[in-house]
């Protein structure tokens, strides 16, 4: 009987099963290169959605800014790990951010049009901006920020574009619904229109 006395066997440590689920989710999120939805996590773990959400709550507490170098974030309708902001400077020395590097004003305007009014076709974008949009659209597709989304109705309809989940991720949005509303700008436009109409009316009379 020279075996060391073990007061606590491994199996006897009381462990909530939710911790085990959280560890599995942690593993899945490390492997994923894109945000995973609660439904995807539920499918992979063969567990139910409520328990997944509880486990994600545990992980969000563990992986948060100031506590961990890895941060759990909600993005593009799912959950994903990213580096903590304090690591950003070091990251910038080692990694490029090719998706958003050198986005021109034209590209940002086109991106705004697609994000707010998409699915939208190139001719429609050109009409709003007053400039041909072909090369800008092509560059945004190449960056993966927008993607084709069907065609306009009728034969020979132009290809339409929509913003991608990558767009949401890069801009830190959970969904396109988080884009700010442009209502106040709309009021400004209305005022503008009134003024122009007044001027036109005065001149016509």
């Amino acid at each position: 009987m020279d075996r060391p006395l073990r007061l606590i066997s491994r199996d006897s440590i009381a462990e909530s099963p939710i911790d085990s689920l959280a560890r599995t989710i942690e593993g899945l999120l490390v492997v994923a290169s894109q945000p995973l939805t609660v439904e995807q996590l539920a499918d992979a773990t063969e567990d139910d959605v409520e328990r997944i959400e509880t486990a994600l709550g545990l992980l969000a507490e563990r992986y948060r800014e100031g506590r961990s170098g890895i941060v759990l974030e909600r993005a593009a309708g799912g959950y994903a790990f990213r580096a903590a902001r304090e690591a950003a400077e070091a990251c910038s020395r080692l990694f490029e951010r090719p998706v958003e590097r050198g986005l021109s004003q034209a590209a940002l305007e086109t991106l705004a049009i697609v994000a707010y009014t998409g699915p939208v076709s190139r001719p429609e974008i050109a009409r709003i901006r007053g400039v041909a949009a072909d090369s800008t659209v092509a560059s945004l597709v190449e960056r993966g920020l927008i993607a084709e989304a069907g065609r306009e109705a009728g034969p020979g309809g132009a290809v339409r574009y929509r913003a991608t989940p990558l767009f949401e991720r890069v801009f830190g949005l959970d969904s396109l619904a988080e884009l700010p509303r442009l209502d106040d700008l709309g009021a400004d436009a209305e005022e503008l229109r009134e003024r122009l109409l007044e001027v036109a009316g005065a001149r016509a009379s």
Binding site: V31, A32, S33, Q34, E73, A75, A80, F81, R82, A83, R85, A87, A88, E89, C91, S92, F95, R97, V99, E100, L103, S104, Q105, A106, L108, E109, L111, A112, I113, A115, Y116, I128, R129, G130, V131, A132, T136, L166, R169, V170, F171, G172, L179, P180, L182, L185, G186, D188, A189, E190, L192, R193, R195, L196, L197, V199, A200, G201, R203, A204
Partner: protein, 252 residues
Amino acid sequence: MASAVRDLELDLDAFEGPFDLLLTLVLKEQLEPAEIDIAAIVVAFVEHLTATDKIDLDACGEFLVLVAALLEIKARQLFPDEGAELSELEPEEAAEELARRLAEYRRMKEAAGWLRERLAEERDRYFRLGPAPLAPRAERRLAAQDPTLLAAALAGLAEPPPKVSLSHMALRFPPVAQFLERFRAVLRRRTVFDFDGEVAGLSRVEQAVAFLALLELRKSGEVALAQAAPFAPIRVTRPEKERIQQWTVRSA
């Protein structure tokens, strides 16, 4: 960069500052369009273009659209009556359309500005980027199999296949050689004979083969052929004597 247009610094009599601000002031009627020297704006832009090595077509396009809009506003103000008469568009319509377009564009410009700010705020969010890993392929599972079924399947393969019938390809007409011999025999007995008479009573196919045989004989010089008129009886004769000899020598 398209922002080259908006950031274009202007130094005019009536206005000093970026082009963007000038447009805003004109639209808000805080600046008289009549007082603006549009030619000077064009000159400033062209100078700006020559100062940079690369021509930015987007910027040029944007500049043209904005300057055209400005020119239209100025022209309408300077020549209100003529403008109303000359234009096919009602001034209200034109103004409304212009305002609608400018407003739509301004909204998107504001949105683009918001996106740019957002991008700056999110600059320190680094995350992994890549294509989604492949989903595992569903494995095909076979139920337990009976080995005798496999043996039976192999046995079927081991059997020789049924012979392919060639019956439809069988010769249904006599060989040409038969007629060659027949005509040579006739010519040994007679110096001349009538082809039609010789093949009378034979089937159509046999007559055709007989005709081929006749052509063969003619080709080798064993017979001479004569026909008085199309569809008249074909007369077959022995050719001159020496030719037969030649042929005999050659064929010997």
